[in-house]
């Protein structure tokens, strides 16, 4: 017997069914860990998926958690669609957070209508700058961007650490953190006395704009063509290098914006754990969405729900909060495998003699 794989066009219903199938398989696999703690998996998944939505406070928290993920997910999705394997959203996020802090700290004499846009634009520019080196190395020198973007994540984290232990060290705080940014640079709240801020709406707008650009504009067509079949795209007269450079900058800018929004919307200062892996989670979300910006929204909300739920389940059942991370990683791998079914039909066939 041998495994035979045939390519086929993906039926539309599969795009909906497969992610749900992936979630079910993931929960079945990870329930082994819940059982190890001595808790009931069904009860655990109730606390994961239903309880956070049952109160207004925790439902809003899901949106708060989803905000940076919407952006990093979109950043990775656009890069991967364009064939630029940006593993560096984490570093671009940090670069954006650093720039937003640098600008936000100096906005004391300006009105919010100026300070907020400047802070966010600074984040976008820094994210673009951080991805520019790997992008140029890729398009000009043909050097694999996976490793360069990945290594720059570690450099960005070290740069944040150097800033927090050096020039930006807040003398009042016991922990390495920067002083707070100016009040004028802080994003206004959407709901008073909650953590939900304007960044959530901005994130939705960015994702929607991206969805429009990718599916409805000539640039979107060129971007996807360059990603799928670069040789064919070149033959069709598309300047693949230039399109890829734009894709990379777009991706880095969105990831940088996520970092800036996290500083200006949630923390108001820089800490070492400002990202804590949002860039990598962006890869999970992009994969979950099948690289479709519209589908980034449910994917990011779902991961935001898992993030919130892992705290609920930890409080209720004593299951370590890290179950959430295991679920996200398992979901990534299962989705990757399950999406194969979309393009391929797998058949067992008797081996030819």
């Amino acid at each position: 017997m041998t495994l035979k794989i045939e390519r086929r066009a993906p039926p539309v219903w599969m795009r909906v069914i497969l992610p749900i199938l992936a979630v079910i398989i993931t929960f079945a696999l990870t329930s082994a860990l819940v059982l190890m703690v001595g808790a009931s998996p069904l009860e655990a998944y109730y606390h994961f998926l239903v309880e956070p939505l049952s109160s207004r406070v925790s439902a809003v928290e899901v949106l708060v958690k989803a905000t940076p993920l919407l952006l990093t997910g979109a950043a990775v999705a656009v890069a991967f669609s364009g064939g630029f394997w940006n593993i560096g959203a984490e570093g671009q996020f940090l670069a954006g957070a650093v720039a937003a802090t640098a600008i936000g700290l100096n906005m004391h004499s300006l009105p919010p209508a100026v300070a907020v846009p400047l802070t966010l634009i600074g984040g976008v520019a820094a994210g673009m700058a951080w991805v520019a080196t790997p992008a140029l190395m890729k398009t000009r020198l043909g050097i694999d961007e996976v490793v360069t973007t990945l290594l720059l994540n570690s450099v960005a984290l070290l740069a944040v650490s150097a800033l927090l232990n050096g020039p930006w060290r807040d003398p009042i705080s016991q922990w390495p953190q920067s002083p707070d940014i100016a009040a004028a640079a802080i994003l206004p709240k959407l709901i008073p006395r909650s953590r939900l801020h304007l960044g959530f709406l901005l994130a939705i707008l960015v994702v929607a704009a991206l969805g429009f650009v990718l599916s409805r504009t000539a640039f979107g067509v060129r971007l996807r063509a360059a990603g799928m079949e670069p040789d064919a795209a070149r033959f069709a007269g598309i300047q693949v290098g230039r399109v890829m450079l734009t894709t990379a900058l777009l991706s880095g800018g969105i990831a940088g914006l996520a970092g800036a929004i996290e500083v200006a919307g949630i923390h108001y200062h820089l800490i070492e754990a400002i990202s804590g892996g949002h860039g990598y989670t962006g890869i999970v979300i992009a994969t979950l969405s099948g690289l479709n910006p519209w589908a980034v929204v449910p994917a990011a909300l779902f991961i935001g729900l898992i993030d919130t739920g892992s705290q609920t389940v930890s409080r209720a059942l004593g299951v370590p909060v890290y179950l959430g991370e295991v679920i996200q990683a398992t979901l990534l791998l299962v989705t990757l495998a399950v999406l194969l079914l979309q393009h391929y039909r797998i058949r067992w066939e008797r081996r030819a003699a």
């Binding site: 794989i5 860990l33 190890m36 703690v37 394997w85 593993i87 080196t133 190395m137 020198l141 043909g142 050097i143 694999d144 996976v146 490793v147 360069t148 990945l150 290594l151 720059l152 994540n153 570690s154 450099v155 984290l157 070290l158 740069a159 650490s161 150097a162 232990n165 050096g166 892996g277 990598y280 890869i283 999970v284 994969t287 370590p320 909060v321 890290y322 179950l323 959430g324 991370e325 295991v326 679920i327 996200q328 990683a329 398992t330 990534l332 791998l333 990757l336 495998a337 194969l340």
Partner: protein, 315 residues
């Protein structure tokens, strides 16, 4: 600084360099096996972390049970965890032919989550980190003048430099298996036509790689620290990804690279304790920057394995 104290400083630095380079060397050579067979395994960072945790947890349990060889129990357990994760990576990247970057990062996320979950499960939330008594250093020539601190090393360090490196050179360049491994990494179609089982060879390469990565992680918890903490690996796996390119996929060059990068870390630690004013992060960032610069200068000529990142499907 007087001549004698300068000499002592340098010998001490070199001794520390060997220690710091040891986990890098295990994991880098592990990654060399994987990539030479055509598979980039970005699970390295997570597998080192999981190896550090599983090794520590198993050793702590065995020590509590009063077993004399508890550290070896830990090592074996870590190696098994690395093997299992490598097989999962092989299933995803070789059998299913999935995107290697995403699958590898998924493995890293999975290992990180599993290790932290396990750590909380086994040790609970404690104010003080649990500890074991780690491997002790040994000196085959005690009492050697000047070089005494240099020779005083862990057995795992001696094994890495004196056994793993020459053995890997032999395996990769002089054994039949190594020839097959390089063949499937360069040109799987031709290797297949020559009767080499591409899938089995890649599974074997990833398995060896995963075991070595986990060993590198276990060295940190079982020898260097005698403890496990969430920051124990702290990007060393990514350093190894850089090292493999820097070493041009060669085990011997990997050794020199590990010494060079290890030397930067060791120097950083020394300078920090001596109250030197340079931010230590600058030295820590050097391995990454040096590799990116090396790629920018000579990347076009980097001898990437021919089938790097390409899954193989039999037609």
């Amino acid at each position: 600084m007087s001549e004698a104290s300068l000499l002592a400083f340098l010998v001490g630095l070199l001794a520390a360099t060997l220690r710091v380079a040891t986990p890098l060397l295990y994991a880098t050579i592990g990654e060399v096996y994987s990539e030479r067979s055509g598979v980039l395994n970005l699970g390295i960072e997570g597998v080192m972390f999981l190896g550090a945790f599983v090794g520590f947890a198993a050793a702590a349990q065995a020590e509590a049970a009063g077993w004399g060889a508890y550290l070896w129990v830990g090592l074996v357990a870590a190696m098994i965890s690395g093997l299992l994760m490598a097989l999962l990576m092989a299933l995803l990247s070789v059998t299913l032919g999935l995107n290697q970057h995403v699958a590898g990062l998924g493995i890293t996320l999975l290992c990180t989550g599993l290790a932290m979950f396990g750590f909380r499960l086994v040790f609970g939330e404690r104010p003080v980190l649990p500890r074991i008594s780690p491997f002790s250093q040994l000196n085959p020539f005690p009492g050697t003048p000047i070089l005494d601190p240099l020779l005083n090393q862990y057995l795992l360090t001696y094994l890495a430099f004196l056994v793993l490196v020459p053995a890997s050179v032999w395996v990769l360049y002089h054994s039949n298996f190594g020839l097959q491994l390089r063949a499937v990494g360069e040109n799987p179609e031709a290797a297949d036509a020559a009767g080499i089982n591409v899938f089995r060879t890649r599974y074997a390469a990833l398995a060896i790689g995963g075991v070595l990565m986990a060993l590198g992680g276990a060295f940190l918890s079982l020898a260097q620290l005698g403890a496990f903490s969430p920051g124990i690996v702290a990007g060393r796996g990514w350093v190894c990804i850089a090292l493999v390119i820097f070493a041009r996929w060669d085990p011997l060059r990997a050794m020199f690279g590990a010494l060079l990068f290890g030397g930067m870390f060791a120097l950083q630690l020394r300078l920090q304790t001596q109250g030197f004013q340079l931010p230590y992060e600058v030295l820590l960032a050097l391995p990454y920057l040096v590799t990116i610069l090396a790629l920018a200068v000579a990347g076009r000529y980097a001898p990437y394995p021919g089938a790097y990142l390409k899954p193989y499907r039999r037609e």
